[in-house]
Symmetry: C2
Subunit: 385 residues, 2 copies
């Protein structure tokens, strides 16, 4: 009898408990929630804010003003959007807020935003599908060169068996200024892109190593003894070449701890913006290390205070690198990127030296939209030589 | 000459770019940011909302009303708080929002909250310190029993070397209703607790496996082909015993893929709430699998629709389990927990059967504050027999 009484109490409490947990978020949802991606690729955003005077949504094209219904719910529907992953936020009477009905967020330096995917085209590669998934690990390695234990993200493809025989090629994938070892796997959707493109047979199964490229830092914000501080873009700025010089110890660590192909035919390096500059310099300094180089909106030739001049022996170094015949040297940039001219000058230099590379010019600027796209274009060429 | 021009443009653009990135968040910060933990363990929260009429902070004791200064910044300072990790949110004219100046958040089912740690006592175990860190992996395993690929979180302690000889004991650590394979490593701060207590020599280095305990689900929200849906607590509810029956395949996977101690002396299982019920039943059904059992605010004897009656052969099964002499059978609950009476009845039953266990009763209810605390109390006893 006692058990039956407890039983009914427990059932009631468990249900009550579920409601209590869920209530907070549900209060802010209208039927269908926010965001809703409509069949025509427009997106409807909504937020309950009965006392607000003005509510905007920012991040999907131009800022959009929302309108209030009689229940105090503000909403707006965009025009049809290009398939992509969008980051957005609301502004309620001037206060920036996430979409309270959307649990999916990502951080770019010190700002969190809500996420929505408009499907179709490449954006389908950014969504999770029910394909075989690779594993993602946050791995600490000892860095004698930088004098600290440091953190990196490692993707191993579906089927990778540490106790097996099969060896895999490795892509080293580097973030930009203000980013960290989480950037490519979160905002960059690299894990989804790899899972999906490998499952489609378009990309060779590979290990992808995403280190922290900030030479003064050990790990992403909140992952070190510095605590829960507010990051700044400037955190990325380290003594010129510090991270790049330390890079071979990352390759050593990976070759020691994973089943890798341990010569250049099985290694690629790519990065965006500052990480493109890193990839540029690391591949230049280690011409026998990588067969594939990807420079995405790259800060090529940037040495911390200016652009490397040719009198630093650059032409000779480039000739030396290209004499080792990289399988692919791939440069991509948007026609509105603030680094466009820098890249143009660099391509002119390569052309002048008679060194061959592949070039992809896209629309747009210095954006994750472009970097995700470049990754989907770069990956299929890797390790197919 | 051209390079010098590009150089100065680049420098200007990079600086401009940093400011643009950072500006959004900085707009909402007052000097020192929010939250600020004061020396007396009070916390000052603030948010700029010049047009708001009422701003509250929820989550640190009773809701607190904030006051506005002449710059439109609302703030409030709490009374001194007990050391702990707190989850909080703001309410601006009735709209729930995160603290825009705080990038540190955690999700509980469908609600995101901001995080702050008030240091001291156990809370120092919840913070990241500069100690040797273990690695954390999101691992997909094949589940023939549940008919899907499923995701779990695996912690390997600092020094774990997959190519080495040393074998480690394993704690299986299970989440509650509405949770998933991320719950213990995020809200539960299990990774920090393990890193810190192992570094202090108080806890044996161990592998910790945190599976997804929802028998109908493969992975946390957003990690499957179901897309970026809004989770509900009810997502956890699966056919009675479904997950528990499948559990041995997780142990098989872990013993096959990690350097484990493969007998009961090297295995522990613990869980909170629903996961406590899982731990209770899995250890009951597999009396030779675990030497250590932890039931944290556990839904013991809950069978999906009621409480298992003794006429289901429970006494006999318990006698059989305890005949195998578990090294530790540990029950913990808060004196205000809604499962208190259920646990009391269960302890009475064990007492009546003459089966010995350890019992810890804390203040408070069905909370992460208690579950984190229970983990710090449970861990030091493990694998010391």
């Amino acid at each position: 009898m006692k058990f039956l009484k407890v039983c009914s109490i427990l059932a009631a409490c468990m249900l009550a408990s579920v409601s209590v947990f869920a209530q907070e978020a549900l209060n802010y949802k209208i039927s269908g929630g926010s965001p809703i991606v409509n069949p025509d690729s427009s997106v409807t955003f909504s937020i309950k804010a009965p006392h607000a005077g003005k509510v905007m949504v920012n991040g999907v094209g131009e800022p959009l003003e929302m309108t209030k219904d009689s229940a105090g719910v503000w909403s707006v529907t965009t025009s049809p959007l290009r398939p992509d992953l969008y980051t957005y936020s609301f502004e309620v009477d001037g206060v920036r807020t996430l979409d309270p009905a959307n649990i999916y967020t990502a951080r770019d330096i010190a700002a969190l935003s809500s996420l929505v995917i408009v499907p179709g085209g490449n954006a389908d590669l950014y969504a999770v599908h029910d394909v075989a998934h690779g594993n993602v690990s946050k791995v600490w390695y000892e860095s004698p060169a930088l004098g600290m234990q440091r953190r990196m993200t490692v993707y191993t493809p579906a089927g990778y068996d540490p106790a097996g025989e099969r060896r895999y090629p490795v892509l080293y994938l580097l973030h930009g200024m203000g980013g960290d070892e989480n950037a490519w796997s979160e905002l960059g959707r690299a894990v989804m892109i790899l899972d999906n493109m490998i499952a489609e047979g378009k990309v060779e199964p590979m290990i992808v190593v995403m280190p922290n490229g900030n030479g003064n830092l050990a790990a992403a914000p909140g992952e070190t003894g510095r605590g829960m501080y507010t990051p700044k873009g400037e955190d990325s700025v380290a003594e010129y070449g510090k991270f790049e010089k330390s890079f071979p110890e990352i390759v050593d660590y990976v070759d020691t701890h994973y089943l890798t192909i341990t010569d250049k035919s099985g290694r690629a390096i790519a990065g965006l913006s500052m990480g493109g500059g890193h990839s540029w310099r690391i591949s230049l300094w280690n011409p026998d290390m990588f067969d594939y180089v990807g420079l995405f909106s790259a800060a090529v030739r940037w040495n911390g205070s200016g652009v490397s001049a040719d009198d630093e022996g650059l032409s000779e170094a480039l000739r030396h690198q290209f004499a080792a015949s990289p399988a692919l040297y791939w440069i991509a940039i948007g026609d509105e990127d603030f680094l466009y001219d820098l890249n143009k000058d660099y391509r002119d230099m390569l052309d002048g030296l008679g060194l061959s590379y592949e070039y992809h010019e896209s629309a747009g600027g210095h954006t994750w939209t472009n970097w995700r796209d470049y990754l989907t274009l770069f990956l299929p060429s890797l390790f197919r030589k």
